[in-house]
């Protein structure tokens, strides 16, 4: 099972390190939200719960709930879900600054 731990590992020096580059935690600590310039937003009314958006999200940043939920901590804003949704149920909103 994936290490669901999303804590940052603190290493102050060699004495905290394993002898070789062995991982100590999950990339979940790396919130990729900041990469996003557009934000996908699901329109519950249009959504038919076909789960195609979930299926094609590369992160994955969508949970297969009904309707699907987007994890904005990780969504990079690639736009695949928007493009692939057969029902145009996902819209793209420019990320604020």
């Amino acid at each position: 099972m994936a290490d669901k731990n999303d804590k940052k590992i603190n290493i102050s020096g060699a004495s905290d390190m394993p002898p070789m580059a062995a991982s100590l935690g999950s990339m979940r600590q790396n919130k990729t939200a900041s990469w996003r310039s557009i934000r996908p937003i699901i329109d519950e009314d249009k959504c038919k719960n076909c789960m195609i958006c979930w299926k094609f999200c590369p992160e994955p940043a969508i949970f297969p709930t009904a309707p699907p939920t987007i994890d904005y901590d990780f969504c990079k804003g690639c736009g695949i879900c928007i493009e692939e949704c057969p029902f145009d149920a996902i819209s793209s909103v420019k990320e604020g600054k």
């Binding site: 990469w35 996003r36 310039s37 990079k76």
Partner: protein
Amino acid sequence: MLEIRFHGRGGQGAVKASDVLAIAAFEEGKEVQAFPFFGVERRGAPVTAFTRISDTEIRIHSYIYEPDILVILDPSLIGAVPLTDGLKPSGKIIINTSRKPEEFSFPEAENPQVFTADCSAIAVKYRLGSKESPIVNTAILGAVAKATGIVSIDSICKAIENKIPIKKEENAQAARETYEHVLS
């Protein structure tokens, strides 16, 4: 020797900006050095680059720890990364933003001089990059020229034409337009 540090995000062209600035200064007879802080560059991830400009040979090969000038291509980096680390007292900070200099405060820096210019808008105007992610590296160099006077805007434009492979003209114009619209 003047030391300039650029902060941007992958895809915005910070590395290219550091290079073009160096070439512009070189055109004016300076010794120069430009280099990235090399990490794994991915679109969106923070990127740093450096330029040194000097009247004498530049021999040092080490990162810049005490920059004279900071160039910030993406205002969303403010707060996200320690931008002003080591900035010299009275150092200059040039920010791509539609906001005004006085809206920014850098309490950890000693008496910084802040300049702003809406490079994104200008880049969009000249169709540099996409609307969502305009490429602002050339535009912001106009602001650098204006705010610091270390190189002339003509040298910047010449360097752009030298170094930027496509839309040379538009890039140069963007720099010129920014040059005229720097707030301080």
